[in-house]
């Protein structure tokens, strides 16, 4: 039986990094969007008060 375990270990690490990285990117983009939503909402409230 050929000794080639290093290749499957590398493949599993690569897959974990790609999927994990994408999940992190979704979490970061979601947080940014929520922050923008909050600041937009606060700006709207302040503008309404000013009027």
């Amino acid at each position: 039986m050929p000794d080639n375990a290093i290749f499957y270990q590398a493949a599993y690490i690569a897959a974990a990094l790609v999927y994990g990285g994408y999940i992190i990117s979704l979490v970061v983009r979601g947080k940014r969007a929520r922050d923008r939503e909050r600041s937009q909402h606060e700006a709207g409230v302040a503008r309404d008060r000013h009027r």
């Binding site: 080639n4 290749f7 590398a10 690569a14 897959a15 999927y19 994408y22 979704l26 979601g30």
Partner: protein
């Protein structure tokens, strides 16, 4: 849902690495099959298929929810196909003796990855939501037309890539223990796909709402620019 999907994929990794027998001829490198094949199947048939169906329906119904489904599925599909293009060479090197060969299956897979990468770049380049949705629906449908060619490429051309061992008219050519690991792997990656598309769709809803609000309420600088100078 995403947490459950991640745990399921983790369980698949553990089963594939520690509780699935090593294939006699290929050695441990064959275990790459449990991430390569499900990622390819879901990326090509499910993700890009969904892009095409949602694209056609968008062109017919002009419902922006369909555009969001297509965009989310395309992005997640590109992630799945990136894993396919990374794990394939890592499997090819010990078995074929080469990282890459320009045969029909591999070249078309790389080509469809570039097409859908272009799809994402196109979406980022167009500001008008209607134009963006229309152009990307057309590109998505045209890109997905490659999928049947990729499936048939191993039958139509001489290629190093093996014939399908699961998706074929006769019985799958795998022993039961390996088939069970593949079934778990396929289910967990499908769950991951659904969870990622759902998360990406929710992000798209928030971003679209913000963009719509920005468009309705111009910034003070834009308002000043719009005012006529007397």
């Amino acid at each position: 849902m995403l947490t459950v999907a991640v745990l399921a994929v983790g369980a698949t990794f553990v089963r594939a690495i520690f509780f699935t027998p090593v294939e006699a001829r290929q050695g441990a490198a064959q275990k790459i099959f449990y991430i390569h094949a499900p990622s390819a199947f879901i990326g090509l048939y499910v993700a890009f298929g969904l892009v095409a169906v949602a694209g056609v329906l968008y062109l017919w119904l002009r419902d922006e929810r369909l555009d969001r489904i297509a965009a989310s599925s395309a992005e997640v599909g590109v992630v799945f196909m990136t894993v396919v293009l990374l794990t394939g060479p890592l499997w090819g090197k010990p078995i074929w003796g080469t990282w890459w060969t320009w045969d029909a299956r591999l070249t078309l897979t790389l080509f469809i990855w570039f097409v859908f990468l272009g799809y994402l770049i196109l979406r980022g380049a167009i500001d008008d939501t209607g134009t963006r949705a229309r152009y990307s629906a057309v590109l998505g449908v045209l890109g997905a037309l490659l999928v049947p060619f990729i499936h048939l490429s191993v039958y139509l051309f001489r290629t190093l890539h093996p014939m399908p061992i699961i998706l074929k008219p006769s019985e799958p050519s795998l022993p039961n223990s390996m088939l069970a690991t593949f079934a778990l792997s396929f289910s967990s990656f499908l769950l991951l796909f659904v969870a990622l598309v759902r998360a990406r769709y929710r992000l798209a809803v928030t971003v679209d709402a913000l963009e719509a609000e920005d468009a309705a309420e111009p910034s003070p600088i834009a308002a000043l620019r719009a005012e006529p100078i007397h």
